[in-house]
């Protein structure tokens, strides 16, 4: 992050401004990805007018970065009406789409509406792998064609690759494909639980050995020595750190108007159909609770050697049962990075050996976690 962006983020934090919001327009989708965390049935999406009103309220609240996602955003017939309104409200707009419904005309309109970037998920360079993940024959070819159309308009395209057992061998080739198409490549080594809490899809995550290999790939993580450096322990500065931007300068709105701290942190804080966005943001007891938590308040993580450098996701911790608890996926990731187990992993091991039966330890069969690792 540039120093100016950090400065702005700090200022937003001090002023308690929701600088960055993701709005999912729909959970409906024309793909059925095996790792998707959403229920694709429509349970009463916000109408066009409700979304436009929400955008007005978000602009007034100070939202600058607007990510429009889904589901597949172009499944909504009013998608361009919503996008046009977002442009009028001068958001910095990022779209997430599979691109399948983007033809030349749509690419031209996206360009004309000053979208900052379009993110398209590509799981493999091999149709038999990508299409098996999306469960839609021909989807790789369609998504790549969409990327070509967007790039032809000069639009910044981000090619997102989610690492799974099914495609673990392919990320290098996907990265090369991104370079060929003039797209930015990012990788997410995380398959997360369903929003309803179902953890079945976590079995799609790669194992620790595969994760360790990815974390030692300079093309993915940059400086490997720095990235995999041993943790520096926890000092007072680390104990006062905030877990992440969720609920502090960022939040998420579902197609049904529910507001959560993050798409990966489904803690209900209010619904914009009943309460103004800014009132939820400022006054919701749930947001206030999230904001009150520093590393010092995390029983396991505050005494963990990874406490200062872990990418612990409070949303994943919440989905494990306790927003102040560890996120085991991030513990696994810290271990894959450094070879040093977290406090949580040590307890899990002791517990599995029957050495520590007196404590309740959050144990989930998780593998990887974390933020995206980007390389251009």
């Amino acid at each position: 992050m540039s120093s100016l962006l950090m400065e702005m983020a700090d200022k937003a934090l001090k002023l308690r401004i929701p600088l960055s919001v993701q709005v999912d327009l729909t959970y409906r989708c024309n793909e059925r990805c095996v790792h998707c965390y959403l229920d694709h049935h429509d349970h009463g999406e916000m109408k066009t007018g409700e979304i436009l009103e929400l955008l007005d309220q978000m602009a007034d609240a100070g939202v600058f970065y607007l990510t429009i996602s889904g589901g597949e955003i172009m499944m909504r017939r009013d998608f361009f009406e919503i996008l046009e309104h977002a442009r009028k409200k001068t958001f910095c707009i990022k779209l997430k789409t599979n691109g399948i419904l983007i033809r030349e005309k749509e690419a031209e309109r996206i360009k004309a509406l000053g979208v900052q970037s379009v993110q398209v998920s590509i799981y493999s360079h091999r149709p038999e792998v990508h299409d098996a993940i999306t469960k839609l024959p021909g989807s790789l070819a369609d998504s790549i064609e969409a990327i070509r159309r967007l790039r032809a308009q000069g639009i910044h395209v981000i090619m997102a690759n989610v690492l799974m057992v099914k495609n673990a061998e392919d990320y290098t080739a996907v990265r090369a494909l991104a370079a060929e198409l003039g797209a930015q490549f990012i990788m997410d080594p995380t398959v997360t639980p369903m929003m309803d809490g179902d953890r079945g899809i976590l079995s799609l995550n790669v194992d620790e050995a595969a994760l360790r290999e990815v974390f030692r790939d300079e093309a993915i993580v940059g400086n490997v020595e720095e990235f995999c450096a041993p943790p520096r322990g926890v000092d007072d500065e680390a104990l006062d750190m905030l877990p992440c931007s969720a609920g502090h300068t960022a939040c998420y709105v579902s197609p049904y108007g529910d507001v959560y701290p993050c798409v990966q942190f489904p803690l209900p804080t209010g619904n914009v159909r009943q309460t103004k966005f800014l009132d939820i943001w400022c006054d919701s007891p749930q947001f206030q609770e999230v904001r009150s938590i520093t590393v010092r308040d995390l029983p396991s993580c505050s005494v963990c050697t990874h406490g200062a450098t872990c990418s612990r996701c409070p949303g994943l911790a919440y989905m494990e049962g306790n927003m102040r608890g560890p996120s085991s996926q991030d513990c696994e990731k810290s271990y894959a990075r450094t070879g040093i187990p977290s406090e949580n992993l040590k307890k899990r091991k002791a517990s599995s050996l029957g050495l520590d039966s007196s404590h309740l330890v959050q144990i989930q069969n998780l593998r990887t976690a974390a933020p995206q690792f980007a390389s251009k």
């Binding site: 200022k11 002023l15 009028k88 000053g114 900052q116």
Partner: protein
């Protein structure tokens, strides 16, 4: 001194007031700028129909203790810089631009 006195915010930008500053990002190259309090006043008044001198006289000099000549010179430098990055449009006549959204609809 100024042959293009009319200034208008580009429609191809992202912008938001953050406290006493304004964040502005160019949609074409994603370059981020921040405008200080005085620059924010000029930015918000850049409606395409009010000449820069009038903006400076009515909005800047009325609010801040600064001579018109000095403020206008600084304002001219600012708008030229912003125009150079495509954030502002400058013209010798009033600018009545259709929004980018409306253009895209056609």
């Amino acid at each position: 001194m100024n042959d293009k006195p009319y200034v208008a915010r580009s429609t191809m930008i992202a912008a938001r007031v953050l406290g006493d500053e304004t964040m502005v990002m160019s949609a074409s190259d994603s370059t981020l700028f921040t405008l200080d309090e005085v620059a924010t006043v000029i930015w918000e008044a850049a409606d395409g129909t009010t000449p820069l001198e009038e903006i400076v006289r009515k909005k800047v000099c009325a609010q801040y203790d600064v001579p018109l000549e000095v403020a206008l010179k600084d304002a001219q430098t600012l708008v030229e810089q912003l125009a150079g990055h495509g954030l502002l449009l400058l013209s010798d006549r009033p600018i009545r631009q259709a929004s980018a959204a409306a253009q895209a609809v056609r």
